[in-house]
């Protein structure tokens, strides 16, 4: 950053010496620049901006199986959503999923990062292992855990039975509550690595002197963690939590692979509900409206997090 600023300053001085005013030069440069970014801009407009606006437009129309030319219905899709039990139930499940999984991932991720920040033999190997769950595609992770939970051949049942914890094989995905928690465990297993990696990277930037000074002043190791590590990690925690919350709130793939929203809708989260409405029931307008509501919620999350965490630091 510093280097770059210095560079610009030098260039500016040179330009002034040569008698070229900055504004004219920038103007000319800008024009050429616009020309160069034109393809990228067209691409972004075509791929992102146009579909984004078009889906807002769609959300005001009543697309359904019977309508060949969907009529304009204003905000009715949005009102129907707020009146639907399915919507509120899905929202509840999504919130549960998000709070529990991100919470667990944060706590576990922090502990793992603390551990891997210590110096011990085989540390680099352990750090490499840490990446594996995160590097695994979610689909693979879902299939993997479906087998682990299998009621007849699953590794989890075999393990718990051989340890004497359960006397009979259990159907982990069989009831709504169990299934939701089982999916959360699968998600935590994968995404704890992500949080741990982000926090570990940040921890390595905390100068050792701080801890040494604190220890000289008589602070315990636990106090070091609470008064030095955690406060200094605040920005990294912010980044990790915001990213993970957004991802968790729109969770879809692992649900699709593991439970398809079952049993008895017990794991039907909001993204899955949106998918079913759009692509199975052909209610594109309703589906578009749903996804805008989800986006809005995610946006609010992001704003709240940023406000809380940036204010204090």
């Amino acid at each position: 950053m510093k280097l770059c600023a210095a560079c610009c300053r030098n260039r500016y001085k040179k330009l002034v010496k040569r008698g070229i005013t900055l504004s004219a030069k920038t103007y000319r440069e800008n024009k050429t620049a616009y020309f160069f970014i034109l393809p990228a801009m067209l691409f972004i407009i075509g791929i992102i901006i146009f579909p984004l606006l078009y889906s807002v437009y769609i959300s005001f129309f009543d697309f359904n199986i019977f309508t060949k030319h969907p009529p304009f219905i204003g905000l009715k899709n949005y009102m129907d959503i707020f009146k639907s039990d399915y919507f509120w139930q899905s929202m509840g499940r999504t919130t549960y999923f998000t709070v529990i999984s991100v919470g667990l991932e944060l706590v576990l991720g922090f502990l793992v990062a603390l551990l891997l920040n210590q110096e011990f033999k085989g540390r680099s190997f352990a750090r490499t292992l840490l990446i594996l769950p995160w590097a695994l595609p979610t689909v693979v992770n879902g299939v993997l855990w479906t087998w682990i939970y299998d009621p007849n051949y699953g590794a989890l049942n075999a393990l718990l039975k051989s340890l004497g914890i359960i006397s009979q094989y259990k159907n982990w995905l069989g009831t709504a509550f169990n299934a939701m928690n089982a999916v959360i465990v699968a998600d935590v297993w994968k995404n704890t690595s992500f949080i741990a990696m982000v926090l570990l990277a940040a921890m390595q930037n905390i100068p050792k002197d701080y801890y040494e000074a604190a220890i000289i002043d008589g602070a315990s190791r636990l106090k070091n963690v609470f008064y030095i590590t955690l406060p200094l990690l605040r920005p990294a925690i912010l980044v990790a939590v915001v990213i993970r919350t957004m991802e968790a709130f729109k969770v879809f793939d692992i649900i699709y692979i593991m439970t398809k929203g079952g049993p008895a809708n017990g794991t039907q989260v909001i993204s899955y509900y949106t998918y079913i409405n759009s692509f199975q029931y052909s209610k594109y307008g309703y589906g578009a409206a749903l996804s805008y509501i989800v986006s809005l919620v995610i946006l609010i999350f992001a704003l709240v997090y940023i406000k809380i965490l940036y204010k204090k630091s």
């Binding site: 359904n64 199986i65 019977f66 060949k68 750090r127 990446i131 995160w134 590097a135 695994l136 595609p137 689909v139 693979v140 299998d150 009621p151 007849n152 051949y153 159907n171 995905l173 069989g174 009831t175 709504a176 299934a179 990696m197 990277a201 390595q204 930037n205 439970t259 398809k260 929203g261 079952g262 049993p263 008895a264 809708n265 079913i276 692509f279 199975q280 029931y281 052909s282 594109y284």
Partner: protein, 438 residues
């Protein structure tokens, strides 16, 4: 901010590894056959979208078709069943002529017809077809007295039993009723041969409705009333659901059935510890494939047991067929391809090489076919008692509402009566939203 070189290298490696692993996850490759070769006679190219089931066979006979009709080239594409509906609806909703021929599951016919995606073919259906194609199969692409295409195979849920296990328990005949099935199960359990009598695919998915349709009919029920209007909370249907709930409680049915779909249940059945199971015809080849099955040559086909004396046997039909899209510019050529695949010689070939049951009644008496397909005779006996799922335009919504409530009963969070009452309420609500149309 200072970032150490080591960390940068670490991140780069990490991203590379994740990209590689993601690549290993892989996408199902699209099969693109045929070409747009332009020669003097300007052949017409028709685009066909098919489900992955039997796609291999269909592809293999395209050269034969192109030799018979040199002016037609076939561009054949296939996707997995799970993405088929979505792909077809998005392609046809946007109105482009991406596909000339599409694969239609029986439950989508009312929707596709109402949306105008497929065209009626009444004048192309011959008298021979009407006389000789199994009625339950021909009806899958019929809606309100119009025909929209031809079935490609004839599939119903068959009742499979492990003859080996039955013999070890001294049982000579497969059960004719569900009560008999429970008795036989208990006998085999006493002898320590099995843990459970049956495994089903009752997960929250379309398969559950197929099984429930079969069971409801075997107890004398139906999911619609005589006018075709959805009516799920009839006493017979409640009885069928009660049977399902009880059979889990009595440990006749593997409780894992509630999380398995109709493919996953085969993993259990093929291990040879469960004597009874219902599944589609493709399961036959799974059972007899030594690589994935421990029950090779031990499985036999019987009639699905009945739940009440008035019913002899009942099952659910699940065939798929091909139809011509309304956006196609080559409807004649497209139909020729459908007619070709439905033809008797190709159907016979399909039965021998791919194991699919033929749509023609007369082929079931074919000597050569009977030799090649040892279960053909038993399977054809089940075809007369096959019932289709309800014909409803908003079928997917109907199915989902029913799936959820059946699972609520299986999980014991509701009684069967309560669950079906709630399902009916939900279904009525959906019907009202569509102005009472179904």
């Amino acid at each position: 901010m200072k970032i150490s070189k080591g960390l940068v290298v670490f991140v780069v490696i990490l991203l590379t590894v994740s990209a590689l692993l993601a690549a290993c996850g892989g996408n199902p490759s699209k099969n693109q056959g045929g070409s747009d070769a332009k020669n003097e006679s300007q052949p017409v190219t028709i685009n066909v979208l098919s489900s992955d089931d039997f796609a291999g066979f269909r592809k293999s006979v395209i050269p034969e078709f192109e030799a018979k009709y040199p002016n037609i080239k076939v561009n054949f594409m296939s996707v997995g069943y799970d993405s088929l509906h979505q792909k077809e609806v998005t392609a046809l909703e946007s109105g482009g002529d991406t596909y000339d021929v599409i694969d239609v599951d029986c439950i989508w016919t009312p929707e596709y017809v109402t949306k105008g995606y497929i065209i009626p073919v009444n004048d192309r259906i011959t008298q021979e077809m009407k006389d000789d194609i199994v009625p339950a199969a021909l009806d899958i692409l019929k809606y309100k007295d119009n025909y929209y295409g031809l079935p490609m195979f004839n599939d119903v849920l068959f009742f499979y039993y492990n003859e080996d296990l039955l013999k070890q328990a001294g049982i000579n005949e497969p059960p004719k009723t569900w009560d008999e099935l429970i008795q036989q199960t208990n006998l085999m359990k006493q002898k320590g041969l099995i843990d459970y009598g049956m495994v089903w695919g009752w997960a929250q998915a379309e398969g559950l409705i197929c099984y429930y349709t079969a069971l409801a009919h075997s107890f004398g029920g139906d999911l619609v009333d005589s006018s075709g209007k959805p009516a799920v909370n009839t006493p017979q249907n409640v009885k069928a659901l009660q049977f399902m709930v009880d059979s889990i409680a009595n440990k006749v049915v593997d409780p894992a059935s509630i999380t398995y779909d109709d493919r996953q249940m085969l993993n259990v059945f093929s291990q040879g510890r469960v004597p009874f199971g219902m599944n589609w015809s493709f399961a036959w080849s799974v059972f007899n494939d030594a690589n994935q099955s421990k029950v090779v040559n031990k499985i036999k086909v019987g009639l699905a047991p009945a739940g009440t004396p008035e019913v002899k046997s009942a099952t659910c039909a699940g065939s798929m067929g091909l139809a011509v899209t309304s956006t196609s510019k080559h409807a004649d050529e497209a139909w020729k391809f459908i007619e070709f695949l439905a033809g008797k010689d190709i159907q016979k070939k399909q039965a021998i090489t791919a194991g699919a049951l033929p749509i023609w009644k007369s082929l079931y008496d074919d000597k050569e076919l009977q030799e090649q397909h040892p279960a053909l005779k038993e399977m054809s006996a089940q075809l007369d008692t096959a019932y289709n799922r309800p014909s409803i335009v908003w079928y997917n919504e109907f199915s989902n509402a029913l799936q959820v409530e059946i699972q609520n009963a299986l999980n014991k969070s509701k009684t069967p009566q309560q669950a079906l009452d709630d399902a009916q309420k939900k279904i009525d609500e959906i019907m009202n939203n569509y102005g009472g149309k179904y």
